[in-house]
């Protein structure tokens, strides 16, 4: 029955446009939060997908020793996709020649993410395949074929095992970023790796378990695995704790989005607070009338809470629709730069935007509503009677609480929220001190003069308190706007600073001395400026400041972390320029 009356009031008011402002405010907050968070989620996912391609999985467990079978079985049991690989450096032989290669033995599930590309001739254009070399076969990179003078169909020996080259390997997803002279890759099946006998004692191989699946499944698996891991042997890699420059940029961009959304939220909250106050004032008479006609306080509360629920629901629906469309539009705008998928649906942003709408609507209308509920029925006889609520503590607590809750919910970072919130609180306090100070000063100056002056100041004081919340909200909005602007410039600057001025975009390697004049001519004819040619030569460090660097593997060293690190970085062949 109360539903009836509330619904009727809501319908008429909506039709007469009385609810437009408050509705628009809720729509604005929900739409901005949904579009921003949904877009940033999609962008994040696109970048994570891209990163996943570089490691060929969502998570990788690297190990210096073979990975226990139970670990893989447990992963499969938990519903994860798995693949296994063993990577090592080894010599391959063809007739009289030999070459150090990057030997990659993979099982039939490799790669879990990304694509293997092959071609029919050396240096040909690679085409995507979802197959792998068959047993007894191998796919090798062009450099190997060139340097050993091989063709498709020829045999190479990997350790003790003879393998036939059936395809030229052009690309694997997890190839790493090495620019110069990484050893040519040789891809073979893991089932045959023992037959090669290259993984004997003292060999340096990396055994890997590749995993893909739901984030929660992956997290559960890691939780199970972590206690059993040996830090000396095992290394866990995740696409999400990406420490690369791209990863850090994405993280910064996400915080930027977050702040921008906060701006939208605060703006919308101000609008809701102002609109709710207006709404409440317009309803002083209806509330007095209802109470006069016998409505209990509870009835009045229910009627108006229902109205707020109706408005909030409508606002969330419209805001959600608009936010979705906006996000869809932005995604298609950036589609050319980043392949952002519109396929997946994310519930996180939906919940957070609904939550935002509800919190904004409830907490920012709380004080005006409480004021409305306290309107005395006697107002029907004495028009000047307003609410007898004078304390604004509830208003400040509700508004501050709402903003803090939203900051926290949205950033899921209590530190950022606390910093932003307390700087906002300081601003509010300062503003309050200034306004009350001015009013106090005004009264002091006016003391002893005629009543009109005092009357004017009393009026200003009343007005100032009435408008203080709006004043403060607008100040916070402006503060946030400035922070967002400063941060935007800062972020662009930081991105630029990551690379020095004039950093080249492309590199050409393996140019011989005789090719140089030809290359210069070629580039000059296309107007490309070639800055400098750098000689590159491979070599090994033998000593640093008289301290000899050992390249031998000895038992004692194997146990010493320090020695291993030194050997890793210095003992190997390096490109010297």
């Amino acid at each position: 029955m109360w539903l009836n009356l509330a619904w009727r009031l809501f319908r008429h008011e909506a039709k007469r446009g009385e609810l437009t402002i408050i509705l628009a405010a809720i729509v604005l907050s929900v739409a901005s939060v949904l579009s921003l968070s949904l877009f940033s989620e999609r962008l994040q996912q696109a970048l994570t997908d891209k990163t996943a391609q570089y490691i060929a999985a969502d998570r990788v467990l690297d190990s210096r020793k073979p990975i226990p079978v139970e670990w893989r079985d447990k992963a499969a049991e938990m519903g994860l996709n798995t693949a296994k690989t063993v990577y090592t450096r080894s010599m391959v032989f063809a007739d009289e020649d030999m070459l150090l290669v990057d030997l990659r033995s993979v099982n039939e599930n490799y790669p879990l993410v990304g694509e293997v590309k092959i071609s029919e001739q050396a240096f040909g254009v690679g085409e995507v395949t979802d197959e792998l070399p068959a047993l007894g076969e191998t796919w090798v990179e062009s450099q190997l074929m060139q340097q050993l003078g091989l063709a498709l169909g020829d045999q190479i020996y990997v350790g003790e095992l003879a393998l036939t080259i059936t395809k030229v390997l052009s690309e694997v997803p997890d190839s790493g970023f090495g620019l110069f002279g990484s050893n040519p890759k040789v891809l073979m099946r893991m089932e045959q790796v023992t037959e090669t006998e290259v993984l004997g004692a003292g060999s340096r191989a990396t055994y890997s378990l590749y995993l893909t699946g739901d984030k929660t499944q992956l997290d559960d698996y890691y939780e199970w695995l972590e206690p059993q891991m040996d830090n000396e042997l095992h290394y866990w890699m995740s696409v999400e704790d990406d420490e690369s420059p791209i990863g850090r940029s994405v993280a910064r961009a996400e915080q930027y989005f977050l702040l921008a959304s906060l701006l939208a939220i605060v703006l919308a909250s101000v609008a809701i607070a102002v609109a709710a106050q207006r709404y409440s004032q317009r309803h002083y008479d209806p509330v007095a009338i209802m109470k006069t006609l016998g409505a209990s306080r509870k009835m009045v509360q229910q009627v108006y809470l229902l109205q707020i629920i109706f408005i909030t629901t409508l606002g969330i629906l419209i805001g959600g629709a608009i936010g979705f469309v906006v996000q869809q539009g932005v995604v298609s705008l950036v589609q050319e730069q980043v392949s952002v998928s519109l396929q997946t649906w994310y519930w996180g942003p939906v919940w957070i935007s609904i939550f935002t709408g509800v919190i904004c609507a409830l907490l920012f209308s709380l004080y005006p509503l409480l004021k409305l509920f306290s309107i005395p029925p006697l107002r029907v006889l004495r028009k000047d009677l307003g609410s007898n609520m004078s304390s604004r503590i509830i208003q400040f607590a509700a508004a501050g609480g709402a903003i803090l809750i939203l900051m926290w919910a949205y950033s899921q970072n209590i530190k950022i929220s606390a910093i932003l919130f307390s700087s906002g609180a300081v601003l509010v306090a300062a503003l309050l001190v200034v306004t009350t100070g001015l009013i106090w000063l005004g009264r002091r100056l006016g003391q002893g003069r005629m009543g009109a002056w005092q009357l004017a100041w009393a009026r200003i004081q009343r007005r100032a308190m009435d408008n203080s919340v709006q004043l403060i909200s607008f100040s916070i909005t402006i503060m946030l706007l400035l922070v967002v602007l400063v941060m935007r410039n800062d972020m662009v600057e930081q991105w630029r600073d990551q690379l020095p001025e004039g950093t080249p975009n492309y590199f050409l390697a393996n140019i011989t001395e005789t090719q140089k004049p030809m290359m210069e001519e070629h580039f000059a004819s296309y107007g490309v400026e070639v800055k400098e040619y750098y000689p590159v030569i491979r070599g090994r460090f033998v000593a640093v400041n008289d301290e000899k660097i050992s390249t031998e593997v000895s038992k004692e060293e194997e146990d010493s972390e320090e020695a291993r690190n030194r050997r890793d970085s210095l003992g190997r062949e390096a490109n010297l320029t």
């Binding site: 007095a288 209802m290 006069t292 006609l293 029925p377």
Partner: protein, 244 residues
């Protein structure tokens, strides 16, 4: 507790004092009087004399400072606002100078409102009957701002009668109306009141309207006195509205 059952209203030494910035202000001096059931009583007096204040106390919209009020045997002075609200819903009807219709409800919905608040069955049917009685059966879907002042007051009268209240309070019901509309509203009010046999307390400074009541009480600076029907009537210093 002494009260005679046939008394609709009993007041004993009620006063009203409010606190203002210049200290306490006594609006009503001790007032005692009774109103019998079905009686029609006019409270007349100059504006600012305290008529509306008294009406607010009698109707349970406000609390007395001292004294006792019984409405249909119920001690208003002992009740809190929630209890008074319930009593108002059950026993009291209201008509105001400024109509006090809910602007975002239609005429028909405004009339239904008290019935809905009280939880009566089929409020719409009751409201339609009353709408016809006040001659506005074709205007039920109109909002208050689409109706003239006279029409709005007729809607308010219909709203006042829908719960069949035992007592009706009217505060200057014709105060905002021109003579012709005022007269129409007056007639309607008294007709409906007669057929429903309701006790009527009517505040006005229009002597002609006051004459239609069986009894007149005069408010003067917060003091209430009974006026016998044949006693000379003091002018309240305001020009009288006369029907042309």
């Amino acid at each position: 507790m002494s009260k005679t059952p046939e008394n609709m209203i009993t007041t004993k030494n009620i006063t009203k004092t409010v606190s203002t910035s210049e200290g306490p202000l006594t609006i009503l001096q001790p007032i005692s009087f009774d109103v019998k059931a079905s009686e029609t009583v006019a409270i007349v007096g100059a504006s600012g004399s305290g008529k509306s204040t008294l009406l607010g106390l009698l109707a349970g919209l406000d609390e007395v400072s001292t004294g006792e009020i019984f409405l249909d045997g119920k001690g208003l002075h002992q009740m809190d606002e929630e209890q008074r609200a319930q009593l108002r819903g059950e026993k009291v009807g209201f008509i105001f100078q400024s109509f006090m219709l809910v602007q975002s409800l239609t005429a028909l919905e405004n009339i239904m409102l008290p019935a809905e608040i009280r939880g009566l069955d089929n409020p719409k049917k009751l409201a339609e009957e009353l709408l016809a009685k006040v001659g506005l059966e074709h205007r039920g879907g109109h909002y208050p701002n689409q109706l003239s002042g006279g029409e709005q007051q007729r809607v308010a009268i219909a709203r006042a009668f829908i719960t069949q209240p035992k007592i009706l309070f009217a505060d200057e019901p014709t105060g905002n109306l021109d003579a012709a509309n005022g007269e129409r509203v007056e007639n309607l009010l008294f007709d409906l009141n007669k057929s429903a046999d309701t006790t009527l307390i009517l505040v006005t400074h229009d002597n002609q309207l006051a004459d239609k009541c069986e009894r007149q009480l005069v408010m003067q600076a917060g003091e209430l006195t009974e006026r016998s029907n044949d006693a000379p009537r003091p002018s309240n210093g305001k020009p009288q509205l006369k029907a042309i």
